[in-house]
Subunit: 483 residues, 2 copies
C-alpha cells in the first residue's frame, strides 16, 4: 500500500533500542501513528498477527468452557466509584463522555478502562443460586486508558484485548481458575510466540486495582527491560460486594461469589518485535507468522520467467498441501534484492529463491530469517525441509530468547550491586525484599519495581534480610526496570 | 446462568409484535438491558450467533482480497466537519469525549459513528501512486450513534459491525466493488440466514451521508415492516477530496481515488428473530444456529439412565462426525417437558428425544423446530435424517419468509391505495415516484420511506406519473414503513 523501503530498518538495535523499535514497527507496516494523540492504527500486517493470537487464545478459552459475550463500551462514572481501590487506580486514566446527541449528559460516562464494574452490575441480575455458577465469560474488546507517554503496541490510549471474567462458589475455585488461565497464557506465549516468561505474583503496590492478588507473566525484552505480558487476578469478593452480587449456596444461605479477571492485549505484538527483532527488521516465530514462507522467483528475461513459473507453482502447491502459509512474490517492478530486504524486514521465517538454474538442477535455495543461513535443497525434499526449517526457527528463536534472559538474570545481596546491575545491564535481579513502602519508593527512585514473587514456595523464601533496609525480608523476588 | 423459564415467550406475536420481540430476545438470553441508556449486553447465546456471522463474512471478505486492520475509536471533531454531507448526517448522533486523564481536552474527540474520516486521513499518508491501489480494507469494530429510541440489536447507542473501506483508480472499479460486496451480502443473508432480501439503490434523501449513492438490501420482518439489512456505498471522490488523498495515475497526473464503504451489523441478529421467530420463541436457521441438534435423554429411574447413556453417546458421536453442532441436555433438576420448551425458546432446529423404549426399538424421536412435526427415526438412519432435516429446515424457513414477503408485496397506483396498504397491512408497496422533497415529506407523514429503487433498469421504469403529486415520475420503487 505505502511505498516499500529497500533498506533495513536503518536504526541499529544496539545503539538506540527505542528508536529501532519504533522504526521497525513503522517500516514493517505493523502499525502507524494517527492524528489522535496516543492512538495508533494497527495495519493489516500487524492485525494479521493479532488475529492469529486471537484465534489461538479464543480456541483455548472455549475448550476450557469459557463463553464469549459483549458488554457496553460506556460505563456510568458512579460504577467506577463503587470499588474503593478500583477508582483510585483508574480515575487518573479515564476518558469521559460528557455529551451525547448534542446534549450534556446527566451522568458522565467513562469509556471502559476494563469491564469489571459493568459486568458485576449485570451479574447481580443474572446470578441467583449456586446452580448459576461458575460464570465463565470472556470478551474481545477495545479499552481506553489515558496515558501520558505512549508507544505503539506497548502503551496506547486505546488498545485491544480479551478480558475474562469469572465467578465461583469458593475462594479455592477462583484461585484454580486464575492459575488455569495463567498456565494457558504461559503455554501460549512460550510455545507460539517463542517468548520465555517468568510466572509469579505481584506485590500489593503492583497488583490490579481491586484485586485480592494478581498473577503475572514477565518477559525480558531485547534491551533487558521487563515487560508484563499478561495478568490473571483473583478478585476475591471485592466486586461481588461492591455490586451486591449474591447467590444462594448449597446450604441455603446467601453468599458473595469469588471471582477472577484476566487479560492479554495487543501489547503481545510489541513483545514479539522487541524480543526477536534484529537490525534487518522483524523475525517472526513461524507459528504466529501470517506468512511462513515467501518464494522469490528470480528471472531477467521473459523466457526465464516462463521457465520457472510452472516449477514455482508446483513448489507453492506442495507447501500449501502441508498447510504452510506461503506467498509468492511475483512483483516485476522491484529487484530480487529489494524483495529479500523487504521480506526480511517483515520477518518471514523462510525465504525460498528459485531461478532458472535452480529449475535445471531440480532444487531451490533456502534462506532462514533467523540465522540468514543459505543452502540449496533438492526438489523432492522441499516440503519436508520447509517443515523442518520452520520448526527449527521456532525452536531457535525461543532458545535465543531464553539464553538472553539467562545472561541477563543475576542476584544481588547488596543495594549497591542491585543499583549497578540495573544501571549497567538491566535484566532480572533476584533480591530479598521486605516490601515496605519506603523500600518500594527507594526502588522506584532507581526506576525499578518488583516484577514477580515466584509461585514455587521454595523459590520465594528469602536467603537473607531485605536488600534495601536490612530488616527481615518478606520474600525473595525478581526486580527489574520495565516498560 | 440466569434462571430458566419453562413457559414460552408469553407474548403472542400477532397481538403485539414489538413486545413479543423484546420478550423473545430477553428470554432466549440473546441480549439484556444495561444500566447505560440505549446500550445492551450481547449475552453468550446472542454472541455465538454473531460469531458465526463474523466467521462467514470474514472468510468471504478475505477470499475477495480484503485485509483486516484496526483504526482508532476516537476521531477529532474537526475531521467529521471536513465532508459537508457527512457532518450534517452524523452531528446529531455523536458521543463526545471532552475529558481525558483528568483534564479537559483542547479538541473534543468523537466516538466513531463510522470511520471514513479517520481512515481517509491515513490514506492520504499511505497512497502515493496507482501501484498502491486498490486499497481493500475492513475492520471489525464497535461504533456509537446516539439514538433517542432504542431496541436491542435493531437500534442501540453502541453496536458491533464490520466496516469495509476501499479506494480505486476509477469510478467503474469503485462501482464494481460496491456491487461485489452487495452480492456477497445478499448471498450470505439469503443462504445462511434464510432471509430473502430486496436489492436496490437508496434515494438522495435516504443515502449515506457523504456517499455518491448507496446500494441497500431490504427485508420484511414478521410485522410487515421493512428492515435495512446492510448497505454498500459508492463514495465517489467525496472523502478523497475532503482529506486530500491523491495518487499519481498511469499517465503521471495526480488524481483523487474513487472509494467505497459498506457494512453489516449486529442488527442481523435482530432480523433473524423478527423474520423466523414464533410464539414459542426463536427458530434459528440451521446454518447459523450455534447448536443445530439438541438430544434430550428421557429417564425416570436410575437404571433407565444407565440404559440410555451409551446409546445417547453413540448417537452424539455419530452426529459430531458429520460436523453437526450437537448438545446433549443431561440436566437432572428439570423435566423433559421443561427442556423441550427451553430449547424451542432458543430455536434449536432439531430436537432428538431418546428414552428407554427408543433404545429397545433401536430408534429415536425427531422433532423439527420449524413445523414441530414429530416422527420416529431408525437408529441407522439418524445421521442421514438429521442432515436431511437440517437442510429441510433451512430451506423451509427461507420459503416461509419468501411466501410472507410475496403476500405482503403489492403495488399502488393511487395515494389512497398506498396509504390504506401501509396502514392496513404494511409490507412492500411498488409505486411510481418523482422523488421531490414535498412528496418525500408527504410520505414521511405516513411514517413511510422509499426503501429501494430496483437495480434492474427495466424494473425501475415508471408505469405512470408520481403516485403522490401526479407529475412525471423519476422511477418506480418500493415504499414501506420500516424500523
Amino acid at each position: 500500500m505505502a511505498t516499500q523501503t529497500t533498506d533495513a530498518t536503518g536504526e541499529r538495535r544496539e545503539d538506540d533500542f527505542s528508536a529501532w523499535y519504533i522504526d521497525t514497527v513503522l517500516k514493517s507496516q505493523l502499525a502507524d501513528y494517527t492524528a489522535v494523540r496516543g492512538s495508533m492504527v494497527i495495519r493489516p500486517y500487524g492485525y494479521a498477527i493479532w488475529e492469529r493470537i486471537q484465534a489461538h487464545v479464543d480456541k483455548e478459552l472455549k475448550a476450557t468452557g469459557h463463553q464469549n459475550a459483549y458488554f457496553p463500551l460506556f460505563i456510568p462514572l458512579s460504577f467506577i466509584h463503587k470499588e474503593a481501590e478500583h477508582v483510585e487506580g483508574f480515575a487518573p486514566q479515564l476518558a469521559v463522555v460528557t455529551h451525547g446527541g448534542g446534549e450534556e449528559l446527566t451522568e458522565p460516562l467513562v469509556v471502559r478502562p476494563t469491564s469489571e464494574t459493568i459486568i458485576y452490575d449485570m451479574l447481580s441480575k443474572w446470578i441467583e443460586s449456586y446452580r448459576d455458577l461458575p460464570v465463565l465469560l470472556n470478551q474481545w474488546a477495545n479499552v481506553v486508558r489515558w496515558e501520558i507517554r505512549t508507544r505503539p503496541f506497548l502503551r496506547t490510549a486505546e488498545f485491544l484485548w480479551q478480558e475474562g471474567h469469572t465467578a465461583h462458589e469458593t475462594f479455592e475455585e477462583a484461585d484454580t481458575e486464575a492459575r488455569l488461565i495463567l498456565d494457558l497464557y504461559v503455554r501460549f506465549i512460550e510455545e507460539e510466540l517463542a517468548i520465555p516468561v517468568l510466572q509469579g505474583r505481584k506485590t500489593e503496590s503492583e497488583k490490579f486495582a481491586g484485586a485480592l492478588y494478581t498473577y503475572t507473566m514477565e518477559a525480558l525484552m531485547g534491551d533487558a527491560k521487563a515487560l508484563q505480558m499478561g495478568t490473571s487476578h483473583n478478585l476475591g469478593q471485592n466486586f461481588s460486594k461492591a455490586f451486591d452480587v449474591t447467590f444462594l449456596d448449597r446450604d441455603g444461605s446467601r453468599e458473595f461469589p469469588w471471582s477472577t479477571s484476566w487479560a492479554v492485549t495487543t501489547r503481545l505484538v510489541g513483545a514479539i518485535v522487541m524480543v526477536h527483532g534484529d537490525d534487518k527488521g522483524l523475525r517472526l516465530p513461524p507459528r504466529i507468522a501470517p506468512t511462513q514462507v515467501v518464494i522469490i522467483p528470480i528471472w531477467r528475461k521473459e523466457e526465464d520467467r516462463d521457465k520457472i513459473e510452472p516449477y514455482v507453482a508446483e513448489v507453492q502447491h506442495d507447501l500449501l498441501e502441508a498447510d504452510i502459509r506461503v506467498h509468492v512474490d511475483w512483483r516485476d517492478q522491484v529487484t530480487p534484492g529489494f524483495k529479500f530486504n523487504d521480506w526480511e524486514l517483515r520477518g518471514v521465517p523462510l525465504r525460498i529463491e528459485i531461478g532458472p538454474r535452480d529449475v535445471e538442477n531440480a532444487q531451490a535455495v533456502f534462506v532462514r530469517r533467523d540465522s540468514r543461513e543459505k543452502r540449496p535443497v533438492d526438489r523432492e525434499s522441499i516440503r519436508a525441509s520447509a517443515l523442518e526449517c520452520l520448526d527449527s526457527v521456532q525452536q531457535s528463536l525461543f532458545e535465543q530468547a531464553k539464553r538472553y534472559r539467562e545472561v541477563h538474570t543475576a542476584s544481588a545481596n547488596s543495594w549497591e550491586t542491585l543499583a549497578r546491575l540495573l544501571e549497567d545491564r538491566g535484566g532480572f535481579v533476584w533480591v530479598d525484599w521486605c516490601d515496605s513502602q519506603p523500600c518500594t519508593q527507594k526502588l522506584a527512585a532507581e526506576k525499578a519495581t518488583v516484577r514477580a514473587i515466584p509461585l514455587e514456595e521454595g523459590e520465594a523464601i528469602p536467603l537473607g534480610p531485605c536488600i534495601c533496609c536490612g530488616e527481615a525480608a518478606k520474600f525473595r523476588c525478581v526486580v527489574a526496570r520495565s516498560y
